[in-house]
């Protein structure tokens, strides 16, 4: 191991680490590397693939995820984000962040439907699904957009008409 070089901070130009050491310390573990952004179309294909089937089966992707926390009651909000500066910054990333091929987009309806309650039609809370805040917001935006484009079907309140309003003149 190299000894610490004695340097005067006013005049010295020596660095503590050599360039090779710097680049080696900056190497990202490939399992935690999220610098490459996967397009939504690839995600849609992935969900239909055997690899997905083997990993998740027929269940939703968040079902087998468990949060790690102190005590019996989890914190009210999940973490802000799992990925910082293109690297997974936690040992237990949320269901979407842990699988780089799960991309929340308004066209990826199969994935979005997994986060919508089959009983009430609402988007499931992050306390149930375990998504980090950033991904949860992405999910809300994607679901909203999909409903706007008519890709997701939902129920609207029943509109009652007053026939007398439309029967006369106008």
């Amino acid at each position: 191991m190299k000894g610490f070089p004695i340097r005067d901070f006013r005049t010295a130009t020596t660095v503590l680490q050599s360039p090779e050491e710097v680049s080696e310390s900056r190497k990202i573990d490939p399992g935690k590397d999220r610098t490459k952004i996967i397009p939504v179309e690839t995600s849609i294909q992935y969900i239909k693939s055997d690899a997905y089937k083997e990993t998740y089966g027929d269940q939703q992707v968040w079902v087998h995820y468990r949060r790690n926390h102190k005590g019996s009651l989890p914190p009210k909000k999940t973490r802000k984000t799992c990925i910082r500066q293109g690297v997974i910054a936690t040992g237990n990333p949320c269901p979407i962040c842990r699988d780089e091929f799960l991309v929340l987009g308004h066209t990826n309806i199969e994935l979005l439907k997994q986060f919508i309650s089959p009983h009430t039609g609402e988007v499931l809370s992050y306390s149930k699904t375990g998504l980090c805040q950033k991904r949860h917001l992405e999910l809300l935006v994607a679901v909203n957009k999909a409903k706007d484009y008519g890709l997701i079907t939902f129920d609207v309140p029943f509109r009652v008409y007053d026939y007398s309003e439309w029967n006369t003149g106008k």
């Binding site: 484009y149 008519g150 129920d155 309140p157 008409y161 439309w166």
Partner: protein
Amino acid sequence: MALNMARVWCRCSSYCIKKNNFPNVGVNFLHLSRSVAGYERDPAPLFFSPDVQRIMRKMTKVDVKKVFRSRKLGEKLDAPEYKFLTSEELEQYMKETEKKVEERLQVPPIVKEREEINEVLSVDRALTGYDSAKFVFTDITFGVPNKDRIIVVREPDGTLRKAFWNERFRMNQIYFPEPDRQLRTPHMFEEPYLTNVLDRGEYEFVLDRACVQYEPNDPEYYRVTSTTYDHIEKEQMFDALQSTRHFGALAFYLCWNKQIDNFVLYYIQNDRIEDAVMLIQLFHLLNPESKSAETDSKDALKFIQAYISKDSSRKSVLEIALQSFLELQKQRQFVEEGIKKAHGM
């Protein structure tokens, strides 16, 4: 001081309003032609007539499971309730259910499209250039119906005019929001997304959402509903809207536009002669000048035959279908008689 002869284009639903500056007269608004044709004559008097309402209601079969299907509206779910009832109490409940069914099957009104509002209240040239933006003044008094609300716009050149329909819609939605109605029209109602949804067969969804989003006299509402009904007619998915409130509207639209040939054919092929008769009766009510209007509807087959020979445009296909139905009926009768003889009756 000379006025600027600037041309201002403003978006108004699917129309473009062109503003012409006439120096001495004031501001005139030109209305360009519609992109989609609407109803030429007013359908409202016929739509609200008791005969038409009765036929539309009768044609809509009631499948209680579909009418009262659970709608996921984000409300808290309750466990199902089981009760023990006497036969009188059961009858009482059945009567109340029938009332609720009537409410659920209320057909959305079919009325003529509204005309664009073109009223100028005053022109105050002293206010020209006060601001580069328009001012919209909305009267938000509580208790005033949205359609009667006073909404006026002050243009940058000093014109005070009544707000256009799209401005009225926006203001009403901002101050008195309707649930699930969007400020900006959902992309779903525009092409190509509308065709995409219809190809998936989600007719009830499109029509329900259109009822919430638009008023019945909105030209956009007419465009969306007519596109949906035309798609159903083309794909022959006539039972998709059965037991919904939109079935009556579908039948009305097709009868009004004299496009019921596929519908009648579908009914004959599925042995639903009474339904075919009701459909042709509705056709006669909406088109009293049609050639077969005078036929008596007591003999169902003659009634349908009269329509086919005089008013339909797919005569050959319909006649073949009717012939095959008659033959099928004869064969069935023959088999029944054979069974009766075998049983010694």
